[in-house]
Symmetry: C2
Subunit: 192 residues, 2 copies
Protein backbone atom coordinates (compact mmCIF):
# COMPACT_ATOMS: atom_id res chain seq x y z
CA UNK A 1 0.00 0.00 0.00
CA UNK A 2 2.03 2.90 -1.34
CA UNK A 3 0.44 5.84 0.52
CA UNK A 4 0.96 3.98 3.78
CA UNK A 5 4.62 3.27 3.04
CA UNK A 6 5.15 6.90 2.04
CA UNK A 7 3.58 7.98 5.32
CA UNK A 8 5.77 5.63 7.34
CA UNK A 9 8.84 7.09 5.63
CA UNK A 10 7.75 10.72 6.03
CA UNK A 11 6.26 10.61 9.54
CA UNK A 12 7.56 7.43 11.18
CA UNK A 13 10.66 7.33 13.35
CA UNK A 14 12.91 4.32 13.46
CA UNK A 15 14.40 3.65 16.88
CA UNK A 16 17.44 1.43 16.41
CA UNK A 17 16.93 -1.58 14.13
CA UNK A 18 13.79 -3.04 15.74
CA UNK A 19 11.20 -0.35 16.37
CA UNK A 20 9.28 1.97 14.06
CA UNK A 21 7.39 4.64 15.90
CA UNK A 22 4.26 5.73 14.06
CA UNK A 23 2.36 7.39 16.86
CA UNK A 24 1.78 10.58 14.86
CA UNK A 25 -0.80 8.82 12.67
CA UNK A 26 -1.41 5.20 13.70
CA UNK A 27 -1.39 4.47 17.41
CA UNK A 28 -1.53 7.59 19.56
CA UNK A 29 -2.76 10.31 17.22
CA UNK A 30 -4.96 8.69 14.57
CA UNK A 31 -5.32 9.98 11.01
CA UNK A 32 -8.87 8.89 10.31
CA UNK A 33 -8.62 9.75 6.60
CA UNK A 34 -5.72 7.31 6.33
CA UNK A 35 -7.66 4.75 8.38
CA UNK A 36 -10.43 4.85 5.77
CA UNK A 37 -7.86 4.02 3.09
CA UNK A 38 -6.47 1.23 5.28
CA UNK A 39 -9.93 -0.23 5.81
CA UNK A 40 -10.70 -0.11 2.10
CA UNK A 41 -7.42 -1.86 1.29
CA UNK A 42 -7.99 -4.60 3.91
CA UNK A 43 -11.44 -5.19 2.41
CA UNK A 44 -9.89 -5.41 -1.08
CA UNK A 45 -7.36 -8.00 0.05
CA UNK A 46 -9.95 -10.13 1.87
CA UNK A 47 -12.88 -9.51 -0.47
CA UNK A 48 -13.14 -13.26 -1.22
CA UNK A 49 -13.80 -14.10 2.46
CA UNK A 50 -17.26 -14.29 4.04
CA UNK A 51 -16.16 -12.56 7.23
CA UNK A 52 -18.83 -12.11 9.89
CA UNK A 53 -16.69 -10.78 12.76
CA UNK A 54 -13.55 -8.74 13.26
CA UNK A 55 -11.34 -9.47 16.26
CA UNK A 56 -8.59 -7.21 17.55
CA UNK A 57 -6.83 -6.46 20.83
CA UNK A 58 -6.73 -3.31 22.91
CA UNK A 59 -5.67 -0.62 22.49
CA UNK A 60 -4.03 0.22 19.15
CA UNK A 61 -6.00 -2.26 17.06
CA UNK A 62 -9.42 -0.93 18.05
CA UNK A 63 -9.72 2.12 15.81
CA UNK A 64 -8.34 0.29 12.77
CA UNK A 65 -10.79 -2.57 13.33
CA UNK A 66 -13.75 -0.21 13.85
CA UNK A 67 -13.08 1.79 10.67
CA UNK A 68 -12.35 -1.36 8.65
CA UNK A 69 -15.68 -2.87 9.75
CA UNK A 70 -17.40 -0.12 7.74
CA UNK A 71 -16.17 -1.87 4.58
CA UNK A 72 -17.43 -5.27 5.76
CA UNK A 73 -21.11 -4.30 6.10
CA UNK A 74 -20.59 -3.14 9.70
CA UNK A 75 -19.82 -6.65 11.04
CA UNK A 76 -19.37 -6.67 14.82
CA UNK A 77 -15.92 -5.87 16.15
CA UNK A 78 -14.72 -7.61 19.30
CA UNK A 79 -11.62 -6.47 21.10
CA UNK A 80 -9.71 -8.74 23.44
CA UNK A 81 -8.80 -7.23 26.79
CA UNK A 82 -5.38 -7.42 28.35
CA UNK A 83 -6.60 -7.04 31.91
CA UNK A 84 -9.73 -8.41 33.50
CA UNK A 85 -12.20 -5.57 34.07
CA UNK A 86 -14.39 -5.58 37.17
CA UNK A 87 -17.48 -5.91 34.97
CA UNK A 88 -16.11 -9.01 33.19
CA UNK A 89 -18.03 -11.46 35.28
CA UNK A 90 -18.73 -13.93 32.46
CA UNK A 91 -16.63 -16.90 31.55
CA UNK A 92 -13.95 -16.03 29.01
CA UNK A 93 -11.57 -17.55 26.52
CA UNK A 94 -7.96 -16.71 27.37
CA UNK A 95 -4.57 -16.98 25.65
CA UNK A 96 -1.15 -15.85 26.90
CA UNK A 97 0.61 -13.20 24.85
CA UNK A 98 4.29 -12.50 25.33
CA UNK A 99 5.57 -8.97 24.83
CA UNK A 100 9.14 -8.95 23.55
CA UNK A 101 9.57 -5.21 24.07
CA UNK A 102 8.33 -5.28 27.66
CA UNK A 103 9.50 -8.79 28.59
CA UNK A 104 6.10 -9.59 30.09
CA UNK A 105 3.28 -12.06 29.47
CA UNK A 106 -0.33 -10.94 29.58
CA UNK A 107 -3.53 -12.87 29.00
CA UNK A 108 -5.80 -11.80 26.15
CA UNK A 109 -9.42 -12.38 27.15
CA UNK A 110 -12.71 -12.44 25.28
CA UNK A 111 -16.01 -13.23 26.96
CA UNK A 112 -17.46 -16.53 25.78
CA UNK A 113 -20.57 -14.59 24.76
CA UNK A 114 -18.79 -12.89 21.87
CA UNK A 115 -17.00 -15.72 20.07
CA UNK A 116 -18.93 -18.68 18.62
CA UNK A 117 -18.46 -21.73 16.50
CA UNK A 118 -20.11 -20.15 13.46
CA UNK A 119 -17.79 -17.15 13.54
CA UNK A 120 -15.62 -16.55 10.47
CA UNK A 121 -13.12 -14.10 11.81
CA UNK A 122 -10.72 -11.55 10.39
CA UNK A 123 -8.03 -10.64 12.91
CA UNK A 124 -6.74 -7.06 12.66
CA UNK A 125 -3.86 -5.36 14.43
CA UNK A 126 -1.64 -2.34 13.94
CA UNK A 127 1.67 -4.24 14.02
CA UNK A 128 2.70 -7.79 13.24
CA UNK A 129 6.12 -8.47 14.73
CA UNK A 130 6.79 -11.78 16.48
CA UNK A 131 3.19 -12.74 15.90
CA UNK A 132 2.37 -13.22 19.57
CA UNK A 133 -0.77 -11.08 19.65
CA UNK A 134 -2.18 -12.43 16.38
CA UNK A 135 -1.36 -16.01 17.40
CA UNK A 136 -3.10 -15.51 20.73
CA UNK A 137 -6.19 -14.08 19.04
CA UNK A 138 -6.29 -17.13 16.72
CA UNK A 139 -6.32 -19.36 19.80
CA UNK A 140 -9.29 -17.47 21.24
CA UNK A 141 -11.29 -17.96 18.03
CA UNK A 142 -10.42 -21.65 17.96
CA UNK A 143 -11.28 -22.19 21.62
CA UNK A 144 -14.77 -21.05 20.62
CA UNK A 145 -14.79 -23.47 17.68
CA UNK A 146 -14.76 -20.60 15.17
CA UNK A 147 -12.66 -20.17 12.04
CA UNK A 148 -9.87 -17.67 11.42
CA UNK A 149 -10.20 -16.57 7.80
CA UNK A 150 -7.26 -14.24 7.88
CA UNK A 151 -4.90 -11.94 9.74
CA UNK A 152 -4.47 -8.37 8.52
CA UNK A 153 -1.77 -6.13 9.91
CA UNK A 154 -1.13 -2.53 8.98
CA UNK A 155 2.65 -2.75 9.42
CA UNK A 156 4.60 -5.98 9.47
CA UNK A 157 8.16 -6.26 10.69
CA UNK A 158 8.99 -9.33 8.64
CA UNK A 159 12.46 -9.71 10.19
CA UNK A 160 10.86 -10.63 13.52
CA UNK A 161 9.37 -13.77 11.98
CA UNK A 162 5.73 -13.56 13.04
CA UNK A 163 4.17 -13.82 9.60
CA UNK A 164 6.31 -16.81 8.68
CA UNK A 165 5.36 -18.66 11.86
CA UNK A 166 1.67 -17.88 11.37
CA UNK A 167 1.72 -18.99 7.72
CA UNK A 168 3.47 -22.21 8.71
CA UNK A 169 0.65 -22.76 11.19
CA UNK A 170 -1.78 -22.50 8.26
CA UNK A 171 -3.06 -18.95 8.56
CA UNK A 172 -3.53 -16.46 5.75
CA UNK A 173 -1.59 -13.31 6.60
CA UNK A 174 -1.67 -10.06 4.68
CA UNK A 175 0.10 -6.89 5.80
CA UNK A 176 -0.30 -3.52 4.13
CA UNK A 177 3.33 -2.47 4.56
CA UNK A 178 6.01 -5.11 5.06
CA UNK A 179 9.35 -3.99 6.48
CA UNK A 180 12.24 -6.29 5.57
CA UNK A 181 14.82 -4.52 7.68
CA UNK A 182 15.78 -1.26 9.32
CA UNK A 183 19.41 -0.41 8.66
CA UNK A 184 21.41 2.77 9.20
CA UNK A 185 18.23 4.65 10.02
CA UNK A 186 16.54 3.61 6.78
CA UNK A 187 13.41 1.47 6.46
CA UNK A 188 13.54 -1.14 3.71
CA UNK A 189 10.13 -2.29 2.51
CA UNK A 190 9.45 -5.57 0.76
CA UNK A 191 8.38 -5.05 -2.86
CA UNK A 192 4.76 -6.08 -3.34
Amino acid sequence: MEILKARIVSDGMEIGTEIVKVDSFLNHQLDIGLFLEIGKEIKRRFSDCAINKILTIEASGIAIAAITALYFDNVPVVFAKKTQPSTMTDEFYGAPIKSFTKGTVSVARVSKKYLHKDDRVLIIDDFLAHGEAAGGLCKLVEQAGGTVLGIAAVIEKEFQGGSQRLREAGYRVDSLAVIEKIENGKIHFKTE
Copy 2:
Protein backbone atom coordinates in the same frame (compact mmCIF):
# COMPACT_ATOMS: atom_id res chain seq x y z
CA MET B 1 -31.05 9.38 21.95
CA GLU B 2 -33.95 6.96 21.88
CA ILE B 3 -32.40 4.04 19.95
CA LEU B 4 -29.47 4.05 22.36
CA LYS B 5 -31.72 4.01 25.42
CA ALA B 6 -33.78 1.20 23.91
CA ARG B 7 -30.59 -0.76 23.30
CA ILE B 8 -29.37 -0.21 26.86
CA VAL B 9 -32.69 -1.54 28.15
CA SER B 10 -32.80 -4.54 25.81
CA ASP B 11 -29.13 -5.60 25.86
CA GLY B 12 -27.57 -3.94 28.90
CA MET B 13 -27.32 -5.62 32.28
CA GLU B 14 -27.53 -3.69 35.49
CA ILE B 15 -25.27 -5.02 38.23
CA GLY B 16 -26.57 -3.72 41.54
CA THR B 17 -27.39 -0.01 41.64
CA GLU B 18 -24.13 1.38 40.27
CA ILE B 19 -23.03 -0.53 37.17
CA VAL B 20 -24.60 -0.97 33.75
CA LYS B 21 -22.84 -3.59 31.67
CA VAL B 22 -23.10 -2.85 27.95
CA ASP B 23 -20.30 -5.01 26.65
CA SER B 24 -22.51 -6.70 24.04
CA PHE B 25 -22.57 -3.53 21.92
CA LEU B 26 -20.45 -0.72 23.38
CA ASN B 27 -17.21 -1.72 25.03
CA HIS B 28 -16.20 -5.31 24.30
CA GLN B 29 -18.24 -6.28 21.27
CA LEU B 30 -18.90 -3.15 19.21
CA ASP B 31 -22.01 -2.58 17.10
CA ILE B 32 -20.51 -0.39 14.38
CA GLY B 33 -23.94 0.43 12.89
CA LEU B 34 -24.95 1.87 16.28
CA PHE B 35 -21.60 3.68 16.53
CA LEU B 36 -22.40 5.49 13.27
CA GLU B 37 -25.67 6.69 14.81
CA ILE B 38 -23.81 7.74 17.96
CA GLY B 39 -21.25 9.67 15.92
CA LYS B 40 -23.97 11.41 13.92
CA GLU B 41 -25.78 12.40 17.11
CA ILE B 42 -22.62 13.74 18.79
CA LYS B 43 -21.99 15.86 15.67
CA ARG B 44 -25.58 17.15 15.81
CA ARG B 45 -25.21 18.19 19.43
CA PHE B 46 -21.85 19.91 18.88
CA SER B 47 -22.48 21.22 15.36
CA ASP B 48 -21.99 24.81 16.52
CA CYS B 49 -18.40 24.09 17.66
CA ALA B 50 -15.32 24.48 15.44
CA ILE B 51 -13.69 21.31 16.72
CA ASN B 52 -10.28 20.46 15.27
CA LYS B 53 -9.33 17.49 17.46
CA ILE B 54 -11.04 14.68 19.34
CA LEU B 55 -9.46 13.38 22.55
CA THR B 56 -10.37 10.14 24.28
CA ILE B 57 -8.76 7.58 26.56
CA GLU B 58 -7.92 3.95 25.99
CA ALA B 59 -9.51 1.53 25.55
CA SER B 60 -13.31 1.84 25.33
CA GLY B 61 -13.40 5.40 24.06
CA ILE B 62 -11.24 4.77 21.01
CA ALA B 63 -13.75 3.21 18.61
CA ILE B 64 -16.44 5.76 19.49
CA ALA B 65 -14.00 8.61 18.93
CA ALA B 66 -12.74 7.15 15.63
CA ILE B 67 -16.22 6.66 14.18
CA THR B 68 -17.40 10.06 15.45
CA ALA B 69 -14.43 11.75 13.75
CA LEU B 70 -15.99 10.74 10.40
CA TYR B 71 -18.73 13.31 11.07
CA PHE B 72 -16.22 16.05 11.95
CA ASP B 73 -14.37 16.05 8.61
CA ASN B 74 -11.97 13.34 9.81
CA VAL B 75 -10.32 15.55 12.45
CA PRO B 76 -7.42 13.78 14.17
CA VAL B 77 -8.24 11.56 17.14
CA VAL B 78 -5.78 11.35 20.02
CA PHE B 79 -6.15 8.75 22.71
CA ALA B 80 -4.55 9.16 26.11
CA LYS B 81 -2.65 6.15 27.38
CA LYS B 82 -3.02 4.71 30.85
CA THR B 83 0.42 3.14 30.92
CA GLN B 84 3.66 4.45 29.51
CA PRO B 85 4.59 2.44 26.42
CA SER B 86 8.25 1.67 25.72
CA THR B 87 8.05 3.75 22.54
CA MET B 88 6.74 6.82 24.40
CA THR B 89 10.08 8.51 24.64
CA ASP B 90 8.76 12.05 24.17
CA GLU B 91 7.77 14.43 26.87
CA PHE B 92 4.12 14.09 27.79
CA TYR B 93 1.27 15.84 29.55
CA GLY B 94 -0.05 13.79 32.45
CA ALA B 95 -3.07 13.86 34.75
CA PRO B 96 -4.05 11.44 37.53
CA ILE B 97 -7.33 9.58 37.09
CA LYS B 98 -8.95 7.79 39.99
CA SER B 99 -10.94 4.64 39.30
CA PHE B 100 -13.78 4.23 41.79
CA THR B 101 -14.57 0.67 40.69
CA LYS B 102 -10.96 -0.50 40.94
CA GLY B 103 -9.85 1.78 43.78
CA THR B 104 -6.71 2.72 41.87
CA VAL B 105 -5.15 5.87 40.42
CA SER B 106 -3.56 5.82 37.00
CA VAL B 107 -1.94 8.59 35.00
CA ALA B 108 -3.44 9.54 31.63
CA ARG B 109 -0.66 10.57 29.28
CA VAL B 110 -0.55 12.33 25.92
CA SER B 111 2.69 13.14 24.14
CA LYS B 112 3.32 16.89 23.98
CA LYS B 113 3.52 16.49 20.20
CA TYR B 114 -0.21 15.84 19.90
CA LEU B 115 -1.83 18.58 21.97
CA HIS B 116 -1.26 22.25 21.19
CA LYS B 117 -2.42 25.69 22.17
CA ASP B 118 -4.53 26.12 19.02
CA ASP B 119 -6.43 22.88 19.65
CA ARG B 120 -10.21 23.14 20.07
CA VAL B 121 -11.01 19.78 21.54
CA LEU B 122 -14.05 17.59 21.90
CA ILE B 123 -13.55 14.97 24.61
CA ILE B 124 -15.36 11.67 24.01
CA ASP B 125 -15.77 8.65 26.26
CA ASP B 126 -18.10 5.69 26.58
CA PHE B 127 -19.17 6.40 30.17
CA LEU B 128 -19.38 9.50 32.31
CA ALA B 129 -19.68 8.51 35.96
CA HIS B 130 -17.68 10.40 38.59
CA GLY B 131 -16.11 12.46 35.83
CA GLU B 132 -12.55 11.46 36.68
CA ALA B 133 -11.50 10.43 33.17
CA ALA B 134 -13.13 13.41 31.44
CA GLY B 135 -11.75 15.80 34.05
CA GLY B 136 -8.26 14.37 33.58
CA LEU B 137 -8.50 14.73 29.81
CA CYS B 138 -9.54 18.40 30.24
CA LYS B 139 -6.39 18.96 32.31
CA LEU B 140 -4.24 17.50 29.53
CA VAL B 141 -5.75 19.88 26.96
CA GLU B 142 -5.26 22.83 29.29
CA GLN B 143 -1.66 21.91 30.10
CA ALA B 144 -1.06 22.30 26.36
CA GLY B 145 -2.83 25.68 26.36
CA GLY B 146 -5.68 24.30 24.24
CA THR B 147 -9.42 24.76 24.68
CA VAL B 148 -11.99 22.14 25.65
CA LEU B 149 -15.11 22.90 23.61
CA GLY B 150 -17.13 20.06 25.04
CA ILE B 151 -17.38 16.65 26.64
CA ALA B 152 -19.56 13.99 24.98
CA ALA B 153 -20.35 10.74 26.74
CA VAL B 154 -22.41 7.91 25.33
CA ILE B 155 -23.86 6.89 28.71
CA GLU B 156 -23.93 9.11 31.76
CA LYS B 157 -24.62 7.85 35.25
CA GLU B 158 -25.90 11.17 36.55
CA PHE B 159 -26.24 9.89 40.12
CA GLN B 160 -22.45 9.64 40.39
CA GLY B 161 -22.15 13.40 40.00
CA GLY B 162 -19.51 13.73 37.28
CA SER B 163 -21.52 15.89 34.89
CA GLN B 164 -22.54 18.29 37.64
CA ARG B 165 -18.94 18.71 38.80
CA LEU B 166 -17.71 19.25 35.24
CA ARG B 167 -20.45 21.80 34.47
CA GLU B 168 -19.67 23.66 37.70
CA ALA B 169 -16.07 23.79 36.50
CA GLY B 170 -17.34 25.51 33.33
CA TYR B 171 -17.39 22.67 30.81
CA ARG B 172 -20.15 21.91 28.34
CA VAL B 173 -21.25 18.32 28.86
CA ASP B 174 -23.67 16.39 26.67
CA SER B 175 -24.46 12.71 27.14
CA LEU B 176 -26.57 10.67 24.74
CA ALA B 177 -28.30 8.59 27.43
CA VAL B 178 -28.50 9.93 30.97
CA ILE B 179 -29.29 7.45 33.74
CA GLU B 180 -30.86 9.05 36.80
CA LYS B 181 -30.89 5.91 38.89
CA ILE B 182 -30.88 2.13 38.86
CA GLU B 183 -33.45 0.72 41.23
CA ASN B 184 -34.85 -2.77 41.68
CA GLY B 185 -33.11 -3.90 38.51
CA LYS B 186 -34.65 -1.11 36.43
CA ILE B 187 -32.79 1.68 34.67
CA HIS B 188 -34.42 5.11 34.95
CA PHE B 189 -33.41 7.55 32.22
CA LYS B 190 -33.64 11.30 32.48
CA THR B 191 -36.23 12.73 30.09
CA GLU B 192 -34.56 14.80 27.37
